[in-house]
Symmetry: C2
Subunit: 448 residues, 2 copies
Amino acid sequence: MDAAEFRRRGKEMVDLIADYLENIEQRPVYPDVEPGYLRSLIPEEAPEEPETYEDVVKDIERVIMPGVTHWHSPYFYAYFPTANSFPAMLADMLSGAIGCIGFSWAASPACTELETVMMDWLGKMLKLPEDFIAGTHGQGGGVIQGTASEATLVALLAARSRAVRMILASDPQRPETDITSKLVAYSSDQAHCSVERAGMIAGVRMKKIPTEQSDKYAVQGETLRRMIQEDKAAGLIPFYFCATLGTTPSCAFDHITELGPICNAEKIWMHIDAAYAGSSFICPEFRPLLNGIEFADSFNFNPHKWLLVNFDCSTMWVRKRSDLIGAFKMDPLYLKHDHQESGRYFDITFSCYSQSIRFRSLKMWFVFRMYGLKGLQDYIRKGSNEVNETLLKRINNGRKIHLVPCQLSGQFVLRFAVCARTTESRHIREAWRLITQLAEEVMQELPN
Amino acid sequence: MDAAEFRRRGKEMVDLIADYLENIEQRPVYPDVEPGYLRSLIPEEAPEEPETYEDVVKDIERVIMPGVTHWHSPYFYAYFPTANSFPAMLADMLSGAIGCIGFSWAASPACTELETVMMDWLGKMLKLPEDFIAGTHGQGGGVIQGTASEATLVALLAARSRAVRMILASDPQRPETDITSKLVAYSSDQAHCSVERAGMIAGVRMKKIPTEQSDKYAVQGETLRRMIQEDKAAGLIPFYFCATLGTTPSCAFDHITELGPICNAEKIWMHIDAAYAGSSFICPEFRPLLNGIEFADSFNFNPHKWLLVNFDCSTMWVRKRSDLIGAFKMDPLYLKHDHQESGRYFDITFSCYSQSIRFRSLKMWFVFRMYGLKGLQDYIRKGSNEVNETLLKRINNGRKIHLVPCQLSGQFVLRFAVCARTTESRHIREAWRLITQLAEEVMQELPN
């Protein structure tokens, strides 16, 4: 395929994509196939001779689509959202064409620098402490990882390396294997399975902190403090705590304002995993949920879940760049370049596990600019005072039930009061059904 | 941006990409910027209000391109090639639109199954032993990783977990930390820095096997055998050897036909890293370089380097799927599905570190079909008998030097014999300059 054919086929693909997304709700959201369905639909081996593009494209509907779980169908409520926006897709096309492998500044300065600056933009949207922003006098900054699992592991490795360094500084003769065999990391018993897995990979003990339903499954400061004391008494070395803001099963928020000072006092690395919920912190009304970030050593969330930046884009900030670099740095001659030590940016090689990365920050740049902060906030809120007013009008015009609004911190709120002496629970259920139905109608009329 | 605007902007982006790639050689291959160049070109913060697409697009030339190292410029000879083909870019567009996160079969059956089958297609192109092909009675199969660094680590973790299991089977009381503190892994002193890093991450001892210039920097069986004996005598547990086929500094090939049987006898996991060179094994004339694969536990190379599949696509095969799954398996309820144990495919969650992946096999499918095996082989050979004949004709028509061809295993070879009594080295240098210059002219006239 030459560039001329690509011009034609690329435009056809753009239409195919637009058609797919415009009509996605007509497809069954979950495929009706059995394991092994695909193998029987295509040859056993790659063709010897080239096939035409038409041959390939017609197989998208025949082979691929019957087996796709449509994550962008409005009927998809499983797992978690994964972002999908037109600006991000356009940026990804460009990223594929530039096709640079950004493992160091020299490998593509634009790739390294745009990433650092986009991480600053996003950090400022989240009102992160200055320490985490690269373009300040602090020592921190942000870097894109592939997934929150990677970020959790990278933070754990940096913490392990810092702990070993600290102990060796006061006890240089102690064997490193003795130190690592005594290390102990903590996370909530509600944390994502990738946290436990990070411990397995790094070969360190990982303890689950018990939580209670009565505490809404949040880790309490007192529980962590007790475990640390017991472990220290038993000769172990507490070094890492992964806090979760928004757990997978119940969206529990660990009490980081309590937990952070404990970690700081004990020189335990506190990593905050807010993979899904983190995007909401760009709205001032949700930002208090991130209070306590000032005690953290690292923080991560996934714009590729809920901030319209297509997968993969898992954003991670650290308070000290040197902690991350120290965990990974290798210095082969083929990665050296003139500007190695001269900027406030990360050489990706030293801050990710994969070493090589695509030009992922282009997606952030396109999305942040084409939505603007307000557009992103609207997307998180997925609603507005206007929508609520419309809903109320619709409810009252129906004349079946009647309610009045109120204002709460600038929000237009529908106020439902149980007033009549004769109201029974069946009336309330009926009212709720009506409100839900009208709300759905209103939401469906909204532009995407 | 709605779908209608995406149709327009997407088509403009397709043209922008085609223009970029058609005219890439007019751009300076390495950018003339200093660290920090980009920050001054864009605002300090994301905009509050949305910008237009025009605003964003005009900044590609102003902000991004001045800082791009153009990996696809024909003048780029640094690091290694990274693949870039039109079919792969089209597939990536589709992958972005489907936007599924393939961490299990249920999360998108097509994603999991196409990956398994494409790995079989590619495995068959490489004539891998049946053990590595999922669609057979063997227990192995292939999975896509992000980079060779990841594959090396994943293999190391699987090996560590297998070694611990084996030792615990005969000595169930032995503490796991005692076992891991005795484990020792090996690789060539010529191996890529990511191998050493994998050892650091997994917290195991990694020893470099010395190589000699006189052995063309290849690891010799005898050297490995001696190190293993010494380490066992010292109470260590050899468990992993990473062989390299094509080292970064000099393209050395470790002697895997010698090394494999040693590893097998010692129950050491042999992983083969052929990141760059591996693509060439699809050509029968280069396939002998992979002899010894029959002794390997895992094998990896990067189609995203030299096989026209855009980054990232690092293909990894294992002899036993259960070894990989054993290293990673976690069983949270939210990842369970009906068909968990029923197919010859990998649930990605259990075979990669990242847990979540994009629909990367679409790129392989598009590329393999639109090039065909022959097209891919032609790309590796980047030349043909016809090209060599043309070159010879051009040389002889010039009448400055004269040579004749010969045939070697079906290849048209230009045969250069030093014949005249009066030939001095300056004549040979002059002849070489002329041959080189004419060869370049011939190559430039070839279609891409």
